[in-house]
Amino acid sequence: MAATLASPDRLGGNIFSPAGALTIVRAGSVARELENTPDPLTIDLSRVERMDTVGAWLVHRSVRDRGARVTGASPELQELLRQVAQADHPAPVRPEGERGAVAELGAWTIESGRTLVGLLGFFGATLIGFLNLARHPKRFRYNAVVQRFDVVGVRALGIIGLMSFLIGIVIGQQGAVQLQQFGAEVYTINLIGRITVRELGPLMTAIMVAGRSGSAFAAQIGTMKITEEVDAMRTIGVSPVEALVIPRLIASVVMMPLLAFWAMLLSLVGGGLFCWISLEIPPLTYVQRLAEVVPATDLWVGLIKAPVFGFIIALAGCFQGMLVANDAEQVGLKTTAAVVQSIFLVIILDAVFAIFFSSIGWI
């Protein structure tokens, strides 16, 4: 393949004379060589055997920007140059709106506010849905609800049980290490009993359900939005809130306290096993001691919180699912948002509950 030549011509200008193929493969080096050839520039195409649009573009832009003269172009090459010149409409490449930090913060604040208002609105819509169902109980979908019980509740037993069992052991072990320094190992039982029944049982269950079911709600409903199933439902006269949202809400609200109770139980078993093996506290003593130190109100605290958490998780999951529009990428984004939002709200509510129960004397 002959080398590209740039040589001075008789009139004091420069001739750029590429040979062989002037194609995309050589475009990088040709562009550099063109740049290094000073004006006035003449491009001689007589030795070019093959040219593609990228090659033509390089010639075209030299003509456009530097007033280069083109010689020796065959009719085909001239045609290609003309085609490229015709297509010369600079297009914006990168998305608009690179915003500053303040604008970003403002947009984020507005977005968060809108989401909160939207969530409230969605809460209202579900309440209306419940009222409608109360007036037309025949429209209630038993099958859908029972199916959700299975998915949200029964199928979660294994993972939530395992997690709680291990957490029970960890709390026992960590607590014992600290309490042994004061010779107060026996208080490990107080620690395990109170913390799992009152706090960790419902909270960890809520986090697990948010990750397992809240995300699934958002993804399922979001996918149905993209495939226009939700629209199809509306046109047939089926309310998506009644058909999709309410069964999931009911399932979460009913299943959360049961799962939380299951979690408490397994944590106590895990903690008890640790006490038995490591601290040599026999199971019977462990149970007796638990009954003495864990007040009944602790159980109530745990079991009252759980359905509220369940409601929030299902609400956030379904709400985010309903927000999905346009493309599949949104399903992922909204699913993430559903989990983050529900766990965030659950923890805030947990704090509110803590203050509330303390002030009514359930300490």
């Binding site: 194609t23 995309i24 562009a31 409409h89 297009a91 914006p92 490449v93 990168r94 998305p95």
Partner: protein, 261 residues
């Protein structure tokens, strides 16, 4: 570049004895097909006859159970990703729904293959190339920084075409490019393909159900039936064959309407 035979003689795609199966289901058996350089070949066949599977086999997304496939003179079966890279650079593919990357703008989509194969191009040259490709594909310049989700179906196809043309390919694969377009949009797209094919001397492998497209732009039509290509010829010649599917396809009411147009 060692050219043994004259380019016009050697087929640009050569499929021999291709066999594809999914479990017990045999899609292709002993399928042969030659695509000549510079032609627009239409591939037709009933639903489920494996038109897309054929395309996926040729471009290496589907490993066939048996047979050989040569594209641009190179064997495609069993090649590693790296080895096939030089051939991949020489073709462009428009998938059925555009398959645009949804997190990138249209122009950035067009730049993806450029960045992959020619990372040393300056970003200014890259932007310029993307711009004229977008314009050549019949999109307005303003579409450059829009996201795929902001485009209509027809515009998305054009954006996909712009990306397929990014590297100035010799060979263009189109999977049902006019499906889902209104008749005016479909006709415009047909004309766009025809004019680009003439301008850029492309070979086009066109899968379509659109009879109007077949009549308007295809030089030859390959008919898939009974697990293989039963005929490859001009529509006029195909009409003279007495295979029932071909007769029903081209001589049905829609076929005759398209022929009259």
């Amino acid at each position: 570049m060692a050219v043994v035979r004259a380019d016009s003689e050697a087929p640009i795609i050569e499929v021999r004895g291709l066999e594809n199966r999914f479990g017990d289901q045999i899609v292709h058996q002993d399928l042969n097909l030659d695509v000549r350089r510079g032609e627009i070949i239409g591939v037709v066949g009933g639903s489920g006859t494996g038109k897309s599977v054929l395309m996926r086999s040729i471009i290496g997304l589907q490993t066939p159970a048996a047979g050989t496939i040569e594209v641009l003179g190179e064997n495609m079966v069993g090649r590693s990703e790296d080895e096939a890279k030089n051939i991949r650079r020489r073709w462009g593919i428009l998938f059925q729904n555009g398959a645009l990357f949804s997190t990138l703008t249209v122009a950035e989509n067009v730049e993806v293959p450029l960045r992959e194969y020619f990372p040393k191009f300056g970003s200014q040259l890259m932007d310029e190339i993307a711009s004229y490709k977008i314009s050549m594909s019949g999109l307005p310049a303003e579409a450059g920084n829009k996201y795929p989700s902001e485009l209509s179906g027809g515009m998305r196809k054009r954006a996909g075409l712009a990306r397929a043309l990014a590297l100035d390919p010799e060979l263009l694969f189109l999977d049902e490019p006019t499906a889902g377009l209104d008749p005016i949009g479909a006709q415009a797209f047909d004309q766009l393909i025809l004019s680009l094919q003439k301008k850029l001397e492309l070979t086009v492998f066109l899968i379509t159900h659109d009879l109007d497209s077949l009549y308007a732009i295809c030089d030859r039509v390959a008919v898939l039936a009974d697990r293989r290509v039963i005929a490859v010829d001009t529509i006029d010649r195909l009409l003279q064959m007495d295979h029932p599917w071909i007769q029903e396809y081209f001589n049905g009411p829609r076929g005759r309407a398209a022929a009259a147009a």
